[in-house]
Amino acid sequence: MIRVELVKLVRRPRTWISIALLCVLPIVVAAFVAARHLAPAPGTGPAFLSAVLRDGSLYPAAAMAMIVPVFLPISVAVLAGDSVAGEAAGGTLRYLLARPVGRTRLLVAKLISLVVFVLLAVVAVVGTSYVTGVVLFGTGTPAALGEPDGVTSLSGVTLSPWEFTLRLVGAVGFVVVSMLGVAAIALFLSTVTDSALGAALGALAVLIASEILVLLDAAVAIRPFLPTRYWLAWVDFFRDPIFWRDIERGIGIQAVYVVVLLGAAWANFVTKDIKT
């Protein structure tokens, strides 16, 4: 069933359109920055962007900073929201279940195909933005970054290209994990409603609420439990030494969301009357 889900993912034009759109944004930004040779001042604008002018091979990190807060979660929510509700609306869910495909198996296969999608998307963005960065800005020496406020001063330690790649892999992995929470929320909603759109928008509403609450000082008590709180902690992979605290917490909170919501999705789905 996992293979079947992957085939469906790969053969669906929408998958490639959303990945292409994700890749386009950083290219557009790079084109503007390169044309005017005008990066945002250090500490403003997307992370890393100000360092890019000095070294184009840092651009994948800047590109990730652009897509992680909004565009990647939107595409994940749309796909995950569609995963069960879309099959229900298209009339294929009943035929899959009557084949038979176990309901638990179907859910697991859906989640795995979502993970593969995020991975494909992030890798595609990193790849295209690396090429874009190197072509438009040339390469310098990759350097570790300094303080949490995003100041791009060099912290003195120079990263070898190999080490930079390793850290990039770590950051990509963290981003994939960060998206699991969204995927689980949308997947759960997707088992509740037969409207793919409703499930996707519902998940996005949760995320926007979370992003608002993260910024709200009065809500500081619940801040560590918000799904989006540690989304940007992948930046910490580029500090030297790597700042593990937020990365670990980020992974932990995503694990909780996945377990709870996937459990809820499972409990709802296996007991549900399939009437579509």
Partner: protein, 304 residues
């Protein structure tokens, strides 16, 4: 093959299926009739483990459903409430996905799958289908594709909900012939329909649903047994009435309804007396008559 007892399904305040005891024997062509919204589709979904019963038991091929439904589903081909498919993929790819999604087949890999798919497409009359996406199919083609999906694994039991929806008269005839052929080769066929003629021409046993209840379950032969009356068409109706004296139950112009067991003796009697007979046959009740007598209006009719 299928046995339900006291099967009940409640959706909130609505009692969709109410204490139903369906019995389908091996080799049957069972036709489930009933007005729209009478609970046929809910029953079919319960048989397939898609909808869970509120109370009552279901047994399919000797296994309890839904507890062991995974054991029987591989031997069932199903078409539920219209075909479903991935619109952007071709019919062949769709069948490939459904075939691969199920439990691993015991025979062969990729080549065997392709053969299965080709055979199923051939059977339903889509043998020459090209690679256009399913969303470009006509309703009839989709219906045939859905049937092909049901036939993929050469099932022992076919559960078909409105299988001829969207087909033209020729298509309906083809599908009927196909189902009879499969049935004669040993497949039990269970189909639901609101089309009386479809069931009348195909089924050997009939169940009739009305507002969630199974109000009739009988072999078609018994239902359509002669009623002990003979229909006679004659231009000499008045003479015939006089001759048969009291045995004529009704007269509509030249059509007489005569209480008599044997048309041939009656015919001889009439002809011997010089009554010309244009048409003579034992009276049989049509399924339509039977069903309309025992069912109410469908749920899609709302009277004030």
């Amino acid at each position: 093959m299928i046995r339900t007892s006291g099967l009940t399904k409640r959706f909130g305040p609505v009692l969709a299926v109410d204490g139903v005891d369906v019995v389908v024997k091996e080799g049957d062509r069972y036709g489930l009739l009933g007005p729209n919204g009478s609970g046929k589709t809910t029953l079919v979904r319960m048989l397939l483990g898609l909808v869970y019963a509120t109370s009552g038991e279901i047994e399919v091929m000797g296994e309890p459903v839904p507890r062991r439904v995974a054991r029987v589903l591989p031997r069932i081909g199903a078409l539920v409430e219209g075909p479903g498919g991935y619109g952007h993929l071709s019919g062949r790819t769709n069948l490939g996905i459904f075939d691969a999604a199920g439990p691993r087949s015991t025979v062969g890999g990729r080549a065997a799958r392709r053969r299965r798919i080709d055979a199923a497409l051939e059977r339903v009359g889509l043998g020459g289908i090209d690679n256009r996406p399913v969303k470009a199919y006509s309703l009839g083609m989709r219906q045939r594709l859905g049937l092909a999906g049901a036939l993929l694994r050469s099932p022992a039991l076919l559960i078909l909900d409105e299988p001829t929806n969207g087909l033209d008269p020729r298509g309906i005839r083809e599908i009927r012939d196909l189902l009879v052929e499969l049935n004669e080769a040993g497949t039990t066929v269970f189909l639901s329909s609101h089309l009386l003629s479809e069931v009348e021409q195909l089924a050997t046993r009939v169940g009739v649903f009305d507002r969630g209840r199974l109000v009739l379950q009988e072999s078609l032969e018994t239902l359509r047994a002669p009623t002990g009356r003979v229909v006679v068409h004659t231009p000499d109706a008045s003479r015939a009435v006089a001759l048969l004296d009291g045995r004529v139950e009704r007269r509509d112009a030249d059509r007489l309804l005569v209480r008599h067991q044997d048309p041939s003796t009656l015919n001889a009697l009439l002809v011997a007396d010089g009554v010309r007979v244009a048409e003579i046959a034992p009276e049989r009740r049509g399924l339509e008559q039977i069903v309309l007598e025992i069912t109410g209006a469908g749920s899609d009719r709302v009277d004030g």
